[in-house]
Structure formats: structure tokens, C-alpha cells
Assembly symmetry: C2
Homo-oligomer: 293 residues x 2
């Protein structure tokens, strides 16, 4: 039996993604010791699930001796977490994260990164609308993409170790610049979530009887939006606050397109509608062909 990839992995924020990673690390024997750091009753719940070896609400203690630290909390918590752990990070430690926004997270971490600690930011593009360590599962990552956005001066050895971890968890690795990541995710993830939150909110604002009927007849399309809009509120608040420019930019394009469609409906321009609906069908086929459906 070969040595594990890491001696001690500290996962700070053991929610859906963090706990799924813990399960994948265990399954693939990638860490000798897995430590969870979190708040309230979460460490106890993670321990009870048997997915980590240690769990604590003392983040400094959690990272002490760790050769890999993974930030798994909503990105807005990054400054507070860094303040708690920075004095305890040893030179040579790899610091990574799983945040849906990369540029701002790197801007938060870099100025307070201790000498010799290596930052390899990551974003496993996988998830469900559920939260908490109870809802994680090791297969969550299977066949999905993991995007790493290390700065140009980061040693390849550290990048390769993080890449190998996610690969063993089942993911396909892509490396790109943080800015580019944030623009791509603004359209593939952040805008869809914003739209879903909005439409479900619009329905919630209807008179009470109508709202009840919306739930009753939700199978006609609406329910898919409720699933997305059931995602973790804190995590998503932080995504929008920290990828503001890219989200507002793509939202502007979306609004223009929606206005054009609205006008086509008002004026009964069937050909415009049909042309768009035919074009989007081809995109669906491309998603199916790319095995991301």
C-alpha cells in the first residue's frame, strides 16, 4: 500500500462540498488524517457521520500540522477564516479552496498569506441544491470539471498535488486564469441561479391562492427553478457580492435578449420566436454530447 497523497488535510467548512471531499479522500485513501473545522454543532455532526478523523471549532488547531488546507465555507467567510488560521499555517502548506468565485477570493487571501504557504485556488464545478455534511456523497464529483486558477508564480508541484486529489475524486482538471473563470461561471452558474431565485420570488409575491396553485402545478417547468432556488442562501449571497462586475455584465445582455423576446411576443412575431427556440435546441444537444447533461 502506497503512502497517501497528504498527511493531514484540514477541511474548513464541512458542508455539501467539504463533506463530499472528505468522503472521496477516505475512499481513495488520499489522506492519513482528515480534520474538519466548522462552527456550532457542525464538527460534532461531521464526526458522527464518520467521514473525518477529527473535528473542531478551533480552526487554528485544525490546520496545525496540515499539509493541505481546503477552504469550504461561503467565500464571504474567507477573511475571518484567514485571520484565524494564518498564524498556524506552516511554510510548505498548500492552501486551496472550493469557492465559486476565484478572483476576489485570491485578492482576500494573497495579502495575508504567510511566507512559504502555497495558494492553489480551486473550484470543483459540482453540487446539488442541498447543504450540510449529511447531504454530501463521494460520487458528487464524478465526471465533472474542476477548475484550478493558480497564479503564474505557483510551483507546478503543488498544483499537480491538488489536481491529482480532484482527479482521484473523479474530476477532470482545467487550469485557467481567475478572471476568465469568473466570467465563464457568471453565465453558466451565477446568472442561472439569479434568474431562478428571481422567478421563484416573483411567484412567492403572488396572491396567496395563486401561490398555492403555482406549487401544485409546478411540474410544468417551475419546479426545476425551485430546485436551483433552493440552494444555500449565504453561499449565493457571497457569490453575487464577490463576482459583481461579471454578473452585472452578463445580466445586462440577458435583459436585452429578454426585452427583444418580450417585444416579439407582443407583436406576434412567430418567426422570431421559432428561430430562437430552434437555435437553443442545438445548444441542448451540445450539452448532451459533451456528457454534461
Amino acid at each position: 500500500m502506497t503512502d497517501p497523497l497528504f498527511e493531514r488535510v484540514a477541511i474548513l467548512g464541512i458542508g455539501l462540498i467539504g463533506s463530499s471531499l472528505a468522503r472521496a479522500l477516505r475512499r481513495e485513501n488520499l489522506a492519513r488524517v482528515i480534520v474538519a473545522g466548522d462552527r456550532g454543532d457542525v464538527p460534532a455532526r461531521a464526526l458522527a457521520l464518520g467521514i473525518v478523523d477529527e473535528a473542531t471549532d478551533d480552526l487554528g488547531a485544525a490546520v496545525t500540522g496540515a499539509d493541505l488546507v481546503v477552504l469550504g465555507a461561503p467565500v464571504g467567510a474567507t477573511p475571518a477564516i484567514m485571520e484565524a488560521i494564518a498564524p498556524h499555517l506552516a511554510p510548505g502548506t498548500i492552501l486551496s479552496d472550493v469557492g465559486s468565485v476565484k478572483k476576489r477570493v485570491m485578492d482576500m487571501i494573497t495579502p495575508v498569506l504567510p511566507e512559504g504557504v502555497i495558494l492553489v485556488p480551486g473550484h470543483p464545478v459540482a453540487g446539488t441544491e442541498k447543504s450540510g455534511p449529511e447531504n454530501g456523497f463521494a460520487e458528487l464529483f464524478h465526471g465533472r470539471w474542476c477548475i484550478l486558477t493558480p497564479d503564474a508564480d505557483v510551483p507546478m508541484g503543488a498544483v499537480n498535488k491538488v489536481a491529482r486529489m480532484w482527479r482521484e475524486a473523479g474530476m477532470i482538471i482545467e487550469i485557467m486564469e481567475a478572471d476568465h473563470h469568473d466570467r465563464v461561471l457568471a453565465i453558466t452558474s451565477h446568472l442561472p441561479h439569479l434568474i431562478a431565485y428571481t422567478i421563484v420570488g416573483t411567484a412567492a409575491n403572488l396572491e396567496t391562492q395563486m401561490s398555492a396553485e403555482v406549487i401544485k402545478f409546478s411540474a410544468a417547468g417551475f419546479r426545476d427553478f425551485t430546485r436551483i432556488a433552493g440552494s444555500d442562501p449565504i453561499m449565493w449571497r457571497d457569490v453575487f457580492l464577490n463576482n459583481r462586475e461579471a454578473v452585472l455584465d452578463i445580466l445586462q445582455r440577458f435583459t436585452e435578449d429578454l426585452t427583444a423576446l418580450q417585444r416579439a411576443i407582443r407583436w406576434g412575431e412567430g418567426e422570431t420566436l421559432q428561430a430562437l427556440f430552434t437555435r437553443t435546441r442545438a445548444i441542448r444537444q451540445a450539452v448532451v454530447d459533451a456528457r454534461q447533461a
Copy 2:
């Protein structure tokens, strides 16, 4: 063995819904003879699938002798279909449909409805993004709602026969007025589809490299929209053209809500975002509790 509910059922437009109904009729032994009427090679394909007893592109012949005729084509085809079949509908025949829009369809049919033919409009609220007789399946209707919108002067006997058919197919029946149906479906179905078509169109308009990446990383939310936006273009063109007022009305509310959210992001109002995202999560739970998830 009891007599079937109907002697001869003609399904005009044997696509996803029509062919699923044919399969359910057969499974539950609800019709002595099932006839498909459609265009091009569709009748031959339906026959080859073994889901109907007869199939033809002569709609007049299809409905001759039928005691139930179900319109299964996109709602825009209704006037042409009525013109073809009206001379062949015998008094006492029940005419029903499966359209996603009810008021306009009734307005199209009522003036040309032959004396003694009974109109029981219906909308089985079920579907997938796929089209064509090959993609239908009898279980499509299981546990879903079927909304009937008969006029006040329609005899209950005919309503009950149509209701019984859908109930045996696995559906739960709700009776409401056509106008009300169109307002409820505008929010639960038409707006979600419009939004999904728009966002997928917005992505398709991005520069080529970005579009490719959008498909690659679609698992982060976008792919759910591509599924919805992969729905039948003709069917959906007709829905928007024929439920214009209700769609434009709910779209206006949606746009206001989206603008408010856009403003909250621009000004960094985290509490506004979090409050909405928490509220929408409760709606998701209600959908799950209503077993429509």
C-alpha cells in the same frame, strides 16, 4: 372483462403527449380502437411502434366513427385541424385536447364546433423536453395533474368520461376556468420556458470560445436551462402567441423583481439578497412536500 371506456379514440398529433396517451389507453384497455392522425411520416412511425391500431394523414377519416377525438398538435394548428375534421364529427362525439393554452384554443374551436359535438378541453400537466412518438411513455402522466376547462353548459357525463380516462392514465384531475388556467400556467410553465430560452440564447450569442466553455461547464446550473430550452420550438412558439396577455403580465412582474435584485447586487446589499434566497428555499420545500419535485 368490461367494455372499454371508448369505442374509437382518434389522437390527432401523435407526438410526445399524444403517443404517451395512446400507450396509456392501450395499457388500461380504455379504447377498442386507437387511431393516430398526423402528417408526413409520423403515422407510419406510430404504426411501427405498435402503439395504435390505425394511422393516417387523412384527419377526416381518422375521426370518422370516433367517440373521442383528442387534439395533440401544437395549438396553432387548431384552426386547420378543425377545418379538416368538422364535417366528419358525429353528434355525441367528445372533442378534447392537450394544449398548454386553453382560452384561445376554445375560442378557435367553439365557433366551428358542429351541433351536438361536446368540447371538453384538457391539459395534462406533464412532459419532457423531447418530441415525437418515439419518446412517449405511458408513465409520463403518473402522479401529475390534468386540468380540464369545460364551459359551464357542458354535460357532466362527457367531462366525467374524459376525467376518468386521465385518471386511469395516472393523473389527478382539477377543473377550473380557462382564463384562470392560462394565468396559472403563465407563471408555472410559460415564463420558466421563456426565461430558459432567453438565457440559452444569451449564451449562444457569446463569442465562440466562450460558448464552448459554457457547454463544458454547464453542470453548474446552466444545463437545467438547456434541458427546458430543448423543448419543441413550434409548440412553444404557439404557446407564447396564444397566451400573450398572461405571459406579458407575469413577465413584467419578473422584470421588476430582477431589476430590484440587480440593484441589490450593484450596491452590495447582502441582506436583501440573503432574505430573498432564504424565502425561495421555503418555496422549494413546499414543492417537495407537494410531491411535485
